[in-house]
Each structure stands twice: as structure tokens, then as C-alpha cells.
Subunit: 454 residues, 2 copies
Amino acid sequence: MKELIDHIKKNEQTYIEELIEFLKIQSISAMPEHNDDMKKCAQFVSDKLKQAGLSRVEIFTTEGHPLVYGEWLGAPGKPTVLVYGHYDVQPVDPIELWENPPFEPVIKGRKIFARGATDDKGQLFMHVKSVEAYFKKYGSLPLNIKFLLEGEEEVGSINIEPFIKSHTDLLKCDTVLISDTSLYEKGVPTLTYALRGLSYMEIEVTGPNRDLHSGSFGGAVANPINVLSEIISKLHDKKGKITIPEFYKDVAVLTKAEKENIKRLHFSETKFAKDLGVAELQGEAGFNTLERIWARPTLDCNGIIGGFTGKGAKTVIPSKATAKISMRLVPNQEPNKIAKLFTKYIKSIAPKSVKVKVSFLHGGSPCMIPLTDKATISATKAMEKAFNKKIVYMREGGSIPIVNTFVKSLKASAVLMGLGLDSENLHSPNEHFDLNHFQLGIISSALFIDEYSK
Amino acid sequence: MKELIDHIKKNEQTYIEELIEFLKIQSISAMPEHNDDMKKCAQFVSDKLKQAGLSRVEIFTTEGHPLVYGEWLGAPGKPTVLVYGHYDVQPVDPIELWENPPFEPVIKGRKIFARGATDDKGQLFMHVKSVEAYFKKYGSLPLNIKFLLEGEEEVGSINIEPFIKSHTDLLKCDTVLISDTSLYEKGVPTLTYALRGLSYMEIEVTGPNRDLHSGSFGGAVANPINVLSEIISKLHDKKGKITIPEFYKDVAVLTKAEKENIKRLHFSETKFAKDLGVAELQGEAGFNTLERIWARPTLDCNGIIGGFTGKGAKTVIPSKATAKISMRLVPNQEPNKIAKLFTKYIKSIAPKSVKVKVSFLHGGSPCMIPLTDKATISATKAMEKAFNKKIVYMREGGSIPIVNTFVKSLKASAVLMGLGLDSENLHSPNEHFDLNHFQLGIISSALFIDEYSK
């Protein structure tokens, strides 16, 4: 494999230049005004799969953004790997906090800055390039490969779900390889074995049928912002536990082995707090920070708006106030069930003086992968070789709801070979990706293909 | 006075056409992009004072928007009335709820729709026209008259305050006549004898130093929206009382006579709730709706914003969340003192996991006028004649902070001769003014000049 690795290293500049083109495309799936960019981006990805050497590449239209599929099945009798990734990105607000425009990639030192750099364009591109390198160097792969790249991961993967379920023959594989998670630390090879799920809700509180003068009406009628605030304040108790009845019922308890593994990582809460610029951390009592992020369900307001929010002062009681609230779920919580419990609880605590509408915007299941799986063992060997360091197994607070769908629908295993870093500002201004990890990711991907084919 | 009243009635159409021109000017004092409109509006008002027949009219520049002054002092030995009003208006958001553009006045039946129609352009214009009618009909007034019209009432009357204090000779008068309040009911002559004051605050909560992915960080760090919501929820107890320590200390208790007066008005809470479209009213326990609005201090969120507020779902923990919160004050609460108590309390309940900044945006003192005052008696007679009905004395939930400044600095009394209606959507979309009240207001103003000159 040495010559393949050398080839990858030698071509780094070209790979980076291609990645820059990829990052320039404003593929924000949440914003309808970027629909054309989404199409452009799907075409770009499709072209790159062809260039890599796949024998069949196809863009599948959906009711939302397109899916890009590719395959090379020239190794009969050998295992099949399905690479999954997403070419869509998060919105860029607050735009004023970006040091460089989010869609004009800039390299500073060994970091590339752009929306989508680490989540997930940079990471999915590693596998495209490892396959390309393989074909360039050996003319073929030692196993069969498929790609399925979606454009709706940041908006709930709505259309890929039914696609997977209705295309199980097309997508049939032994394992699904995904790079959309993080390394435990810079330069430390890491495999993620569990992900949190998600129930994303919206609450709209309506009070009076019109905006009112707070002088002429203040004190006589429920204020939707005050009511919404009170509802939100009732979602946690003083110990940071979520108060929704039966919320914790299905939560898988952390095993002793997992707790000990976390202890061995010597995670520094002080450094974590300092990096975030907070004087004190806050979370569920009885758990440390990694346990809270990796293995405990949580609830966060993702957005709130109501009344006058411009500069200065307007003395108004608004008619409406709205909040977006999401819950991160852990095995074995079920998103639909949690959404129902949430809705029921909100309705039960809302006063009669307002109308409350609760909507379930989207959800995703949590997931756990056994460490004894053949693909996990191959990925461990590949990453340890690429990094020349011992692997770390971790859980992850984020969600890739699609993992469960793949595992269940295709009866395949999964490998979460993430090369990002939590500090790379994913979903925030100044998102970036470490170019050393980009190269190590391409090498790890190539070595995984080699190991898993044995 | 009959011929004067006839003259006013005959000229109604002209007065309305002039009012329409006045309402077309986009004099939103809170928005710097309307600074030129503010100047244009000051010039319009100044021209109308000249046209009315005043002998001296002057525009005083300030650090904010201009003040328009006018006077006619041709009745030595007779009382002097100072008319106060404001030519600035509230912002128009949410613009999409207006049935007609807010600065393109439309008359439907006997109502004129436009931003500022009732608050306060329509009302201040009544006095300009009554003076004009007097001059047209008799060539002079039976007393001395001054006008002081400001362009910053909706943003806290910042610059008129020092102007009054430094121009007490210029503004010297016996009473200040103000029309910026409401009639108790359509067609019922009303004088307001007490106003609430205001302390308008802003709270900014900062958590992590950047927006975070709610998956990778959710549960490990304080979320500024959740914290802000909790802070807001702690500002009222279960009985609707404000929890800020010492908040109620200086509150003047409602007298037995006032409580009985309120009872006699037969205010319908059912109708009030129905008009607002709410199933249930909500407020401080132990008080009825009119008592809550007129005589009790209250606290309302006027605006809140944080995180992702667009369409769809973004899984972010925002770095900041902000709320605008105002308190309506009653005699003898003092805005600066209340602002300090508020700030101290917020700081005391904020967790260490966030930074909290509290700002005092502006304030105004509450006010109470004795019903035995000569000007009040003259105004009572004038309105009862104009309307041919018995007067109602009421308090008002809104604030005209400037009233206290006039009374104290000029050692004058005050008359709050409001011709608006609470149902006329002031500060809201589709603001309007009843044209019958516009005419009755011009007549009441003229009759007041006559009565008070005796």
C-alpha cells in the first residue's frame, strides 16, 4: 500500500483545489433560494464520482434535493462498501461573524475555512479521492463500492429515507462507511460507535389577536413572550433534568465499561469551558460533560422570536411568539414517541389565556454499533496504520439519523470514520477543516478498502 | 360660540384633507433611515401653525429630532395654554398585517386608517385647527396660546426634557393641554387624570463565545435562550405579582372612591376578552382588568430574539439571546429606581454559566392630576358641551412621561383631553382615528379656550 499512500500525498494540492471548487457552491438545503445551487452541487458531485472511476453514476431526483448515486461492482465475491455523505450545508447566519465570506474558501496555515469544509463536503470528498487514487494506481478496487450522497441531511434527510427503503437491491452492501463525525482530538484516530437522535419541535404561542400597546393593555392580558418563556423554563428542573413525563423511560443506561472508557480519556472540563468562553459549565446533575454529550438526552432552544427586535424601544405586546426546540435522543428513545410526549406536556402546561400550536419539524433515531463488527475491526486497523497511533472509541452527541435507516433497511453494519474536530465551528461562523486530517482521511479510506477486502 | 362650531363643521373636509397630507409623512422616530422624514414632518407642522395664525413659529433643532414651537400672546392678563403633542409615530412592523399601506391614508366609513392617525397626529391636529378656526372667525383668541410639538415621544422624549427645563420662560403657562389619550367609549367625553410611567429595559444573555452545534455540545453548556426564558419566567409569581424585591414599595394604593368609580363604569371583561380574541384574561390576582391597566404596575416582554428564526430547522445553540422588557409604573414609582431594582434582581438570578448585560433604554414618570383644578373644570364643561353628554374621569395605562416634566418645571396644571379609542390599534397594524371624534375634538378644543379664558 505504500505506493498508494505516496500517490495520495503527492496529489494533495490537486485534491485541495478540487475541494475548493466544491466548497464554493452555496448548497444551503434549508433555503429555497438556493435550490439551483443544490442542483449545481449534485452535478458537481456526480462529475467527481465519474472522474474517480466509478462505472455507473446517476442523479436521482426527489421531492426535495437530488440524491447522487455511484457504483463500481468489479469485484464479485468480495464485500461491498456503501459510502454515505451529504453535499448540503447549514445556513450561514450570523453572516457578520465570518472573517471570510462563507463560500469563498480561504486556507490559513493547514486549515481551510468555508461553510461545509468539515460538515460534510471535506469529509465525503476523502472517499471520492481514495477511490480515485486506487483506480489511478491499480486500475481496480479489491472490493465493490457504492456511493449515496444526499442534499438534505441538514433539513432532516426527508427524501433519502424512503429512497433507501425502496432501493434496497440497488444499495445492497455489507457495511456503510460514513465520515460525518469528529476525531476525539487532533491527530488521534477515532471511531464513533454511538450517535444521538433528534426530535425537532416548534412552539407557537398566540395571545391577543393583534399586537397591542403595552401601556393600554399591559397587565390585563397574557403576553405570548412571557408565556412562552415560562413554558420553556418548565422544561428543565433545578437539577437540569428534562421534566417531560416518561421522557427518560427508554434511555439505555451507560455501562460500567463505557463510564470507565470515558474516565480514561482524561477529558478536561476546564479546557472545554475555557474554549467556549464560559465561567461555568451547566448540565444534568450526576453526569460529567462527556456523559452528558454522548450518552444523555438533552433539550435546547435553537431559536426564539417575538415582538419588536429592532434597535431601540417599542412598547408592544405581540400577538405571537415562536420557539424552535430540539431534543437530542439516546438509545433506545424513539423520535416520534418523544415528539408526542413533548407535545402532550406543552399542551398540559400552557395557560388557557393563550393558544399553543406544537409542530414536529423533524426527527432521527439514535444509534449504537457493536465494536466486534468486522467492518469496525478493519476500520480500526486502517486508521491506526494511517495515523500510526492507537484508536479511540467514542460516542457522539450529534445525530446522523440516516445511520439507523441504512443498518435496518440494508441489514448492513456501519463505520463512522469521522475526521472532523468539534472545534472546527460546524454549524457556526468560520467553519473549517484541518488539511492534515483531510489527507489522513483519504489514506484511512484507502487502507480501509484494503483491510475490509481481506 | 355657535358660529365658531358651525365654521368648524363646515370646514371638516378641508381639515381631513390636510390631516391626510400630515399622515403621509413617514415620521418614524425610532428608525434612523427616516431622519429626513422627521425633518419634513417638523416643517409641515411648523407651516400649519403659521397657517393657523400664530404670531411666532420656530423649529428648534435638538441632538435628536426637531421641536416645533409656536405662540400667540395677544391677550395680556389672560391665562396661557400650552398645547403639547408629538408628530413622530411608531414603527409599522409587522407590515404584512396592514390592510392598506401605513403611510397611504384611507378613509373607510367615518374612520381614517394610517400610522399615527390617532397617536398622535390626528389628535394634535385638532388643536391646530381649533386655533385656526378662532382666528378665522374672530381675528383673535380670548387667551394666550403656545404650542410645543416634539418628534421623539415614541423613543422616550429624550431631548424635549432638557429643552423644557432650560426654556421655562419661553414655555411659561397656566396649563398644558394634551390630546394623546383615549375616550372611555365611543362618543363619551372623557378626561384622564392619571398616567402610568415606564422603565424600558433590555437584557442580553451571552453563553458560549460562538454559536454551537446542538448535537456536539447540547447538554454540556448553558443555552442563552433557555437561560433568558428562565430569567423571564422568574419575573412573575404564580399570582401574577412581579417578584423584583421592593418593586411595589412606592405604589400608591387605589382609593375607595377610585375603586367605586371603576365599578360604576360597568366595564365588561367578557367583551374585552372577546375583542382581543382570548379565551381567558390574565393578570395580577386581587384586581380587576381596569384596576390592572389603570392603577397597577406591570411587566411585559416587548421583544425577544435568539438563535435561528428562519423557516425550517437549524440545530444550533446560539451564543446570545436578547429580550426587551418594559415595566409600566404607577404613582409614586420612580423609573430610575425601578430600573436599578430590576437590574439588581436580574443579576442576582442569572446563573454563573452565562454573562448577563442589563440596559436601561428609557423611562418616564407616572402622573396624577387633581380633579379640582381650574383647567380640569373648564375642560369638563367644554367636552360636556361639545359631546352633549356627562364627562367620565379615568386613568390610563399608557405613559406620557413628559406630563410630569411640564407640571414640575413650569409649575402648571395639565389637561389630558384624549379623543382616541383603545380599539384604534395604536402601535399596531391598521391604526385608525374616528373622524367624528376628530371633529368633536376640534370643537372641544375651541370651547376649552373659551371656558378657560373666563
